[in-house]
Amino acid sequence: MKVTIIFGGKAGQGPNLLSEVVSRGLLGAGYYVFYSREYESLIRGGHNYNILTFSDKPVYSNESQIDLLVCLDNNTKSIHKNQLKKSGIIIEGDKGNMFYAGSVFKILGLTLESLEQVLKKLDKYEELFDETKAGYNFEKRKIALEKTKNRFFNDELINGSQAIAKAAISSGLEFYYAYPMTPATPLMMELGQMQMNKNNKHKVIELESEIAVINASLGSRGVGSIAMIGSSGGGFDLMTEALSLAGMAEIPLVIYLAQRPGPSTGLPTYTGQGDLNLALYSGHGEFSRVVVAPGDLCESLEKTNECFTLSEKFGVPCILLGDKHLGESKSLVLEKPSINKVEKNKIWPAKFNSYEHDYNGIVTEDVKMINQKFEARMKKQKNIELEVSKLETYKILGNRNSKNVILFWGSVKGAVTDAVKDFGIDAKLVQILYLEPFPEKIKTELKDAKNIIIVENNSTSPLSNLITQKTQIKIEDKNKILKYDGRPFFSDLLAQEIKRRLK
């Protein structure tokens, strides 16, 4: 059983809160929930919507066809009614979002008591219960759900940004520097809110530009405090000169790069995976880096923690490569993440230098010293590769023995795993977690494949090029499933695309 709902309305009408309330009700009744949000680059008006998919089994993505359409304005109906299944229900009228929260609870057979509890937990009970109750009592329609015996120990719905924030704090974060840029800002907001908790010691500092942000973080880390920064493509571009400085000065640095479609300002509030090459190759000169792309919440927690560990151990910039879909979609963390204590490297006091320098940190132009320093950096690269090879650098999911391989990285994981699981596709899934250093041993997972399909949220498939470069295996163009409209994959449509390629 899988049910999908769209909540749509103008910015300010509150489709987001409505999704949260309904999701919590569903969790309480034992259903797994996944909801994503689509919003435009404006503050009031326009068309915002959330897509919620729930099931009695774990769910990690949305489907394109919907069972229930909740319209907070007329626009929502005209935009989404063609996605409605034949049996689908439309909720519309001139009431507010909380009235319809009541309607949805009633339609899904959730109790009024559970709605009361959700509102209490959100501290919205006093102001909102009467309205929701009216909606509940007014509504007469029903969608029959299969009963479930699931009970969740953890009932906290979080998004990728929240997962990264939690892991950064667990890793000893002291300063988070940023300049606001969607979709990295949700991490800044989350860390900002978490400052209010007295147990957390970190501070969020907004500076005048991304250039200031990265240089300040190197200053803070230089004198001994663990720092992290975050931005999206354009802001990351501005940081890249200092990324190279981090490589030369060997100061630990963790950067969250939250992708949205470019080029240039592109589509600020949408998702994409167009910045893989930016993460891999930005910055002048030759220096080591780590690029890791979590695909779900548990991985967001674990890989963030690994970024801090690696950057501290090797004094290397670590780029945590996420995107809007991962950063803003909410579900439960179903596995227990493995988070390790980060050993802070004692590097202060010392002289750090942007020039080539000797072991005292003083500028050198001496041939012998230059060679030594280049060789030291090459050796460091080998050491990083060795250390990373001990971590989970890729995952094999699905049928390990299948001759059909589906390759992917990052947030498309949810749609790929749901497509394969729910639509009966026989395939071995290969998820690349570490893009740099690249796990070249995945070649053994690919060499016997009959079909290799690649799924990416971009138009040029940088992962295909990387795979070819590292394994000499070429991915045929017809086997590249690429989506570049700023929206994430839907599992049902993706399943059709995969099946078409496997024929």
Binding site: L207, A212, N215, A216, S225, A227, P349
Partner: protein, 270 residues
């Protein structure tokens, strides 16, 4: 990673590394280096437990980093200020000397300079203003005088130079001073800045002996404090800032502290 050094110096101490300076003979950077050294020595006598560090940018001034035996970061061109801010935020007790050139502070890193005045983080900024991009061989900077010629612009500079003292005053800097590149003036202004809690902007007028020699600056300068200037008067400070426009060759050039008024300090607000 680099070898750690002790930045809480013990006597006897030299604030100089063993590195032999590569500045040109007679370069005024030697004055700034020696002035800093003398300042640090007097500070050490007063309080041996103070922890010192430095940040520098890129240009001739940046070589200070190799000659001063202090920990810190020789930053990217124009980016000394945000590095310094990050250091102060993480370690508010650090005594921090920040060096920039006129390229760093007035061209590539201008945004940071303006915001440094706004943040008012407690560090001292010395801008080695030789009115030229010396290390890249004599190109004009934003404070080069009208009519200046070099190989890259044989027709001569056509723009009026900016006035950094006015800019800093307008940006809300809490300590605005100008000195000439002279050992005693450097030491004295650093001692005044040391007493100030907040961002201390110190412009050092520094002839470049090769590309921008001192025509007659030393004949034209006078000290504001000796003339009884009221450094708490913002309007007066602005007037004094306008006396020298970085182009004229006959106006008086005021030195000393134009303006000083303490306000909140960024790292104490966090």
């Amino acid at each position: 990673m680099n070898k750690q050094i002790d930045n809480i110096p013990k006597k006897p101490i030299s604030f100089r590394t063993n590195t032999i300076p590569t500045w040109c003979p007679g370069c005024f950077n030697f004055q700034i280096l020696a002035g800093t050294e003398q300042f640090l020595k007097s500070q050490l006598e007063k309080n041996p437990r103070k922890e010192w560090a430095m940040v520098s940018g890129i240009g001739c001034h940046g070589k200070m980093f190799d000659y001063l035996n202090l920990p810190g970061l020789n930053a990217l061109h124009g980016r000394s200020i945000p590095v310094a801010l990050g250091m102060k935020v993480a370690k508010p007790d650090l005594n921090l000397l920040v060096y920039c050139g006129d390229g760093d502070a007035y061209a590539e890193g201008m945004e940071h300079l303006v915001h440094a005045a706004r943040y008012n983080s407690n560090f001292k900024l010395l801008v080695h203003n030789n009115q030229v991009f010396a290390l890249t061989i004599a190109e004009p900077s934003p404070v080069t005088e009208l009519g200046y010629k070099d190989k890259t612009n044989p027709a001569g500079v056509k723009l009026q130079p900016m006035n950094p003292i006015k800019l800093m005053l307008a940006s809300g800097a809490s300590f605005v001073a100008r000195v000439f590149a002279d050992v005693n003036q450097i030491k004295q202004v650093l001692e005044e800045a040391e007493k100030h809690k907040g961002f201390a902007f110190i412009e050092v007028l520094q002839p470049c002996v090769i590309f921008h020699p001192d025509s007659n600056y030393r004949l034209r300068v006078y000290n504001l404090q000796e003339k009884g200037h009221d450094k708490s008067n913002f309007k007066l400070a602005m007037e004094k800032a306008e006396e020298f426009d970085y182009t004229s060759n006959n106006s008086k050039i005021p030195l000393g502290i134009f303006y000083q008024k303490e306000k909140f300090v960024f790292e104490n607000l966090i």
